[in-house]
Subunit: 224 residues, 2 copies
């Protein structure tokens, strides 16, 4: 599975061969073919492996309340340290996504990632409505679809145009703050004191910078 | 160019050959090669042609004020009558987008579409701030990046998981209504009396249905 990941990063999906994957591993193509009839079969197993890792990693989100957890969840999916590797991987994933209309098996696997993101957001929003930090008239399922769409949009835009600026992230935070947060709730979104920034040195300028960079970074194990 | 469009819809991008395009036209592959050295060169000319049509079509948006024009612009890009043809075309576009990291020429062409959508939204939001329908503290550039990301997200999710439900569109409208519209502005968003629905028979149920279906339909000439 790690060899598949490296081969996808290096070669992309379209031109990827079993030989490329074998080259990244200590296995022969014959050994690969023994387990997987086709490239698609191997990639499906890889997507399954990725799904397990993805759902383990994002099963919980840090934050003192639902609003912080929502912003933290989105940030965690969209931010990663190694931007170059993540970009290569997201590119390969976008190629696989473009194959979904031709392959029911890909569509089903990719649909599981989407359903997971949806379920997580829906459940966080429901928690927020219950704990009073999110407005009671917010629709959890609609909000979840919106957030899942936004995550897909960030990944697609990054792949196709590169640097996307921090505007999407800033507007998302403003949307959460002005639209989702219940009136009077004791919740601070964005800035240096909200717990959503990885930078916890309390330096507001530094924390803001982290926020601004949020859109630039990608996540290798991000939403497929 | 029309032959290229039809060939892309039928074959997708990855497996598309000059022969496929010739088969859809009344030209020989020799004639195609006379004008275009490679498939990429032909596709770049096609993207250029598409860009002209796209920017002509969406240069203006209907609506009595900036808020209506913003929602109308997004709806127009994301909605189209022939959903099947549009899905095929969006799939091919997603394949081309996934090639962008490998091709500076594709990246540049795709960047022009993105820049156009950004500029249009930014300019509509600026108009709204000026005419008092949009809050003065809204950042036009950030909002434009957010909307462009959302449009990309809708197209990507549709391609990879199919039916995406109407939640994204409903949440976008709620975001516009609760977050962008200036307090006290005489603007109605959503429902049957806002001018954003194609259905103008004044039947609220029918108009609502149009709104709910918004997410399902795709636009063949949509944001690339």
């Amino acid at each position: 599975m790690e060899a598949t990941y490296r081969a996808l990063c290096e070669h992309g999906y379209a031109s990827l061969t079993m030989q490329d994957i074998a080259d990244e591993s200590n296995k022969s193509t014959a050994a690969l073919h023994y387990h997987y009839d086709t490239k698609e079969a191997l990639l499906l197993a890889f997507l399954d492996h990725l799904y397990e890792a993805f759902t383990d990693k994002y099963a919980t989100a840090d934050g003192e309340n639902a609003v912080e957890r929502l912003v933290g969840f989105v940030d965690a999916i969209l931010c990663q340290a190694d931007a170059e590797e993540a970009e290569q991987f997201q590119t390969a994933l976008l190629e696989i996504r473009a194959q979904a209309p031709y392959s029911a098996a890909y569509r089903e696997q990719l649909g599981k990632f989407d359903a997971f993101v949806n379920d997580r957001v829906e459940s966080i929003v429901e928690d927020g409505i219950e704990d009073g930090t999110i407005r009671a008239d917010i629709d959890p399922a609609d909000t979840a679809a919106f957030v899942a769409t936004l995550i897909d949009g960030v990944n697609t835009r990054r792949t196709t145009i590169g640097d996307t600026g921090g505007g999407t992230r800033r507007t998302f935070v403003a949307y959460v703050r002005d639209h989702l947060v219940a009136p009077g709730a004791d919740v601070t979104v964005d800035g240096s004191d909200d717990g959503t920034s990885a930078d916890e040195n309390g330096d507001e300028a530094a924390a803001d910078e982290t926020v601004l960079e949020g859109d630039e970074r990608t996540d290798g194990s991000g939403d497929a």
